[in-house]
Symmetry: C2
Subunit: 304 residues, 2 copies
C-alpha cells in the first residue's frame, strides 16, 4: 500500500469515498467469521460495523495522520478501531433498553436483524476488538504510541466520555431545565469525545508537538459541536428517504436539543460560526489541512 | 506499598482475603464518582465491581506475578482490570435480554438495582476502563508489556474468547446434541479464557520465559475447567443461602452441562483429576507456587 493516502488535489467527496473503501476493506479482513457456533456474534459485528455509512471518523483519522506523514497502514488500523467503537455505541444505543430504535442507516438495527442478546454481545465484541487492534504492532512500531492510543480512546469512549454522555442523555430526557451549557457538555461527551479522538489520533501517531495536538483538539471540539447541531437540524428538517431514519423523533420525545433551545435559525448560525472557528484552528498546517477544512464545511452541509 | 504481596507462609484463605481487600481498595480509587448527572453510571459500575466476591481472578494475578517478583502495584492494576471485565460480563449476562437473572452474589443484579439502560452502560464503562487501566504507566514501566496485556486480555475477553463463549452458550440452550467436547470448548471460551489470562498476566508482567508461560497456561486451563465443573455441581448440590443464587437453574432450563452429561459422581471425579493435572503443571516453580496449588484445591472444594 502506498503511503500517500490520497493523491494530491483529490477533492473532499472523492477522499471520503476512498476512505470508506479502504476502511471497509480493512474491517472486512479484521473480522473473519469462524466456522463454529459462535459465528453468529461475528456476523452481527460485521453487520453493524460494515453497515453503509459516511466513515467520517476514519476520514478524520486519515486526514489528521496525513499532516504528520503517518504510514497509511497505521492510520487505517486506528480508523478501524474507532469505527468499531462508533458501531458498538450505535448497537447498544439502539437496544430496546436504551433508545429502542428499529431503523439505522436505512436498515433494521442490529437487534432487529439478529436479537437483543446477540446485539449486546456484538457491541461488547466490537468494543473489545477495537483495543486489540490498537495494541497490535501493525498499528505503530512504538509500543508507547500504541499505549497512548489505547488510554486516550478509553477515556474518550468510556464513562468519562461517550458512555457518560449517553447516561447523561438518558437522564436529560426527563429534565426540561437543561440550559445550553448542559447540552453543550452532554454533546461534547456523547459525540464530541470520539470525534476529538479521531483527530487527535493522527497527532499521537505522528508524535506531533503539544501545540499541533492542541490545534487539532480545538478543531475537533468545534467540529463535534457543529456536527451535533447539524444532526439536531436534520431531525427537524431532514428527509427520511435520505437520512434513513425517522424525522421529528427528538421533538416527539420532548428532548432538549440545540434546536429546541436556540430555534432553527440561531442553531444554523451557531453551526456556521463553529465551522469558521474550527477552520481557524487549522492555520498552522497551511494547505496541508485543506481536506480537514472541507470536512468542517461538509459536516454542516450534509443531508444525512 | 511493600513488594511482598503476602508474608511468607500465609495460608490460602488469608491470602485470598488479603487480595480481596487490596483489590477492592484499588478499585475504589480507580472509580471515583463525579459530581455531575452522569454520576449514575459510575455508581452502577461501583455497585457491580465492588459487590462482595471471592476475587479469585485477582488472586491468580497476584499469585502468578509473585512467581516472578513483580511489583505489587503492577499486579494490582492488572487484577483490577480483570475484575472490571469479570464484573462487566456478569452485568451484561444478567440482563433480561440475556440470562434474565435478578439475584447475583446475594444482592439484586445491577439492572434490578438501577435499570436496564444503566446496566448496559455500566458494563460498557467497566470494559472500557479495564483497557485504560492496563495502558497506564502505573501498570508497568515497559509500554511493550502494557500492549501485550491489552492485546491478550482483548483476545481472552472478546469474540474469540468470553463474548464468543456467551454467544455459544445462548445458542447451546436450544440444542440437546452437544457432547463433552463441545461443552469443554464452550467453557474454555466462556469462563476459561479470563481465568487463563489471570494466570498468564503474571508471566507477561514478569517477562517470564516461554516455558514458564506455557506451564502457567496449562495450569490455568485445567483450573478453569475444574472451576466450571464445580460451578455445575453447585447448581445441583449447592445451598442458596451460601451460594447467594438459586439452585437447579441449569436443569430447569434444560441446559447441557458437565453434570448433565457425566452425572454427579463422574463430574466430581473429573474435577479432582483436573486439579491433580493443574498442580502438576506447577512443578517448575517448586515451593513458590504453593498458593496456586492451594487455589486449585479451593476451586473444587468451595461452597460458593
Amino acid at each position: 500500500m502506498s503511503d500517500t493516502i490520497w493523491p494530491a488535489g483529490m477533492d473532499f467527496a472523492a477522499a471520503l469515498a476512498a476512505t470508506a473503501k479502504l476502511t471497509d476493506d480493512s474491517l472486512d479482513k479484521l473480522i473473519p467469521v469462524p466456522p463454529d457456533l459462535e459465528a453468529r456474534v461475528f456476523e452481527a459485528m460485521r453487520y453493524a460495523v460494515l453497515a453503509p455509512g459516511k466513515r467520517l471518523r476514519p476520514f478524520l483519522v486519515l486526514a489528521s495522520a496525513q499532516l504528520f506523514s503517518v504510514a497509511t497502514r497505521s492510520a487505517l488500523q486506528v480508523a478501524c478501531a474507532i469505527e468499531m467503537v462508533h458501531a458498538y455505541s450505535l448497537v447498544h444505543d439502539d437496544l430496546p433498553a436504551m433508545d429502542n430504535s428499529d431503523l439505522r442507516r436505512g436498515r433494521p438495527t442490529c437487534h432487529k436483524a439478529f436479537d437483543d442478546a446477540t446485539a449486546v454481545l456484538a457491541g461488547d465484541g466490537l468494543l473489545t476488538m477495537a483495543f486489540e487492534v490498537l495494541a497490535q504492532p501493525d498499528t505503530h512500531g512504538d509500543p508507547g504510541v500504541r499505549c497512548e492510543l489505547v488510554a486516550t480512546l478509553a477515556q474518550a469512549a468510556g464513562a468519562p466520555g461517550m458512555v457518560g454522555g449517553q447516561m447523561f442523555d438518558l437522564l436529560a430526557e426527563h429534565r426540561a431545565d437543561l440550559d445550553i451549557g448542559a447540552i453543550t457538555r452532554l454533546q461534547r461527551m456523547k459525540t464530541g469525545a470520539l470525534i476529538a479522538f479521531s483527530c487527535e489520533a493522527g497527532a499521537i501517531l505522528g508524535k506531533a508537538s503539544q501545540e499541533q495536538r492542541l490545534a487539532l483538539r480545538g478543531y475537533a471540539h468545534d467540529l463535534g459541536l457543529a456536527f451535533q447541531i447539524a444532526d439536531d437540524l436534520l431531525d427537524v428538517e431532514g428527509d427520511t428517504g435520505v437520512t434513513g431514519k425517522p424525522v421529528g423523533q427528538d421533538a416527539a420525545a420532548g428532548k432538549t436539543t440545540f434546536v429546541s433551545i436556540l430555534g432553527v435559525e440561531r442553531a444554523r448560525a451557531q453551526a456556521a460560526l463553529l465551522v469558521t472557528q474550527a477552520v481557524a484552528h487549522l492555520e498552522p498546517f497551511e494547505a496541508k489541512a485543506d481536506l480537514l477544512r472541507a470536512a468542517a464545511r461538509f459536516v454542516v452541509d450534509r443531508q444525512t
